[in-house]
Symmetry: C2
Subunit: 339 residues, 2 copies
DNA sequence: CTGTTAGCGCATTCAC
DNA sequence: GTGAATGCGCTAACAG
């Protein structure tokens, strides 16, 4: 295959022993004379040491396994960008595996990566199950989760509950009493439970007339769009969506129904994707910094690999972005405002 | 590190030789009796063969290097999705490196991957330079480009020129005479030259009154938005944008300027991203199937690895998506329609 | 069918 | 400082 030079070849050419070449490649400890000679030969031949032979000796792969639920998502892209920013300068490379939104495959991927001899694993998880914990116990390579949390593992994630609370407080303060929360399956703890509960808690607090109806939808624009009529049936004054994607789908549905946003119904989302600003109206949202999440996650893993401790955290900074899709309601003008 | 069992350990435990275990792991050719014994021991120990030792022998890494201009982009996500769909069933894994939009880094990444001993490389290139070709000549591992083309390499890409032509014909047929093409640097041959030229050629054909002004902008939503006033200064009846992202930025600018699209100005893009449908109005565009590109690219590479030939192609199917952002013009109502 | 032997390319003792 | 020798864990002839 790669009909390449070996360390022996260049040793011969430089008229030294291969250990000398090896030293040149690693610590040093050789005379200037041989050093120059070797350098020259290496340059001429374009020699590069065999990755696998090296790793076999070194017991270190400099490879980090990265398990992702899917590839074609904005948040995943941002996350990777952040992870890469930390890994690359340290000489690590990411080995990416995709779970296709299946928890079972996520577990397969873990064991796969472990077998490949990666130095650590980052998992943007769909949900941490007993299966995960059991598998993780069976070997001792460092693992950091993101996206989901669990007391038994290391994790770095956004504050889903806090994000929900921010939105809940905002919508309440805007004078809304009756909202539909368009959320996802509670198989996804972070988004399906924490984020939703945060919203409900803050929205309900000291808010006697408050009412929240729940409509379950998927993560995609299309499924959100398809839930439009179900949402409308509750006649809310505002729709709070578990993700910006869902918000965009709802917005589209409303637009096609000729329902004015935010005049007739307000809409809000979570995520802060750049696309939120291209919709009409631009989507009010709680923004997450996934690139930062990626950086923190990678740094945590590197710490673990170095034998240091790492602190799990689920409190990464959030920012509220008020755009155009939510408007205020008169103190008591609820429900009657709409037919 | 991974204080793991070796093939020797399990050979001892099963009271056979390690070659027998190796056979068990690979082809077969052993008695049922020993087979059962080995299977049991492996199960008990959770043994897994050492990845690096195996690769060192096999001269095959089952690793495919993938070089991307950046991570956080929708097209890249789709592409990877497609690549992965082909690679995974064949037991290959992708090793992803990011070029941060720098051609020089793209070249470094190539040589990096080659050193790692990948079996092949896929490059979503920023532009194929002499540096690329020279480096590629220095080793013989299969490489397939996408995103850009060059006669001296293998490539699979969308038909940028054809896409441009489709849009050119459409806009002309809609009765527009004066358009601004909001494009990117011609350092990017595919988008900056081929796509633009295709548009201009088709638009100009048998179209005496036609006029195309060019405004150079970046790939981002923000830079497109910032180019808004420059575009408007030409007073076109339509703006054709080199990508949907640019189109979205222009749309946003126009929206904020209270200029009605498409009544006052039409806008179109290229790409067919899902987000095009959430803008207001929804963006008319030529859609590319990047997932298909990914699949074709990966398949081509696999063919090359298998010693087969592969045909480069730049004619992957396109689809025109007519949405709301372009409208017809009266035969001579040009320019005067706008102040 | 099975055990023995011999490397894959490299890092790292150990004497010199 | 430097070279010779050893083995990382595995696969692939080689004889039996």
């Amino acid at each position: 295959m790669d009909s390449k030079y070996t360390i022996q070849d260049i040793a011969d050419m430089a008229k030294v022993s291969k250990s000398t070449v090896s030293r040149y490649l690693n610590q040093g400890y050789i005379s200037q004379e041989k050093m120059d000679k070797i350098k020259q030969v290496i340059k001429e031949t374009g020699f590069q040491s065999n990755f696998f032979a090296k790793r076999l000796k070194m017991k270190q792969s400099k490879l980090i396994g990265i398990i992702l639920p899917r590839m074609d998502s904005v948040t995943v892209g941002k996350l990777l960008e952040g992870v890469n920013r930390i890994l690359e300068p340290e000489g690590y490379q990411g080995l990416i595996l995709v779970s296709d939104l299946k928890k079972q495959k996520e577990i397969c991927n873990i064991s796969n990566l472990q077998q490949q001899g990666v130095d650590g694993i980052i998992i943007d998880s769909l949900g941490i199950t007993r299966g995960h914990l059991q598998l993780l116990k069976s070997f001792d390579i460092p693992v950091v989760f993101t996206g989901q949390q669990h007391t038994a593992v290391h994790y770095v994630k956004i504050d889903d509950e806090g994000a929900g609370r921010i939105m809940g407080a905002y919508v309440r303060q805007k004078g809304h009493h009756h909202v539909v929360f368009a959320g996802v399956t509670n198989m996804d703890r972070a988004v399906g439970i924490e984020r939703k509960q945060g919203f409900i808690d803050a929205f309900m607090e000291n808010h006697p007339k408050a009412k929240v109806d729940f409509v379950k939808t998927g993560f995609s624009f299309e499924s959100a769009y398809a839930s439009g009529s179900e949402i409308l049936a509750f006649k809310p004054t505002a729709v709070v969506c578990a993700t910006d994607n869902i918000g965009l789908g709802v917005l589209r549905y409303l637009h096609e129904q000729k329902i004015k946003v935010p005049q007739e119904i307000s809409v809000a989302g979570f995520g802060g994707y750049a696309v939120g600003v291209v919709s009409y109206p631009a989507l009010t949202t709680v923004a997450f910094d996934y690139e930062l999440v990626g950086m923190k996650t990678a740094q945590g893993l590197l710490d673990l690999i170095a034998g240091k401790k790492m602190e799990s955290q689920s409190n990464l900074p959030l920012s509220f972005i008020e755009r155009e899709s939510v408007c205020g309601r008169q103190r008591d003008g609820v429900d009657k405002d709409r037919i």
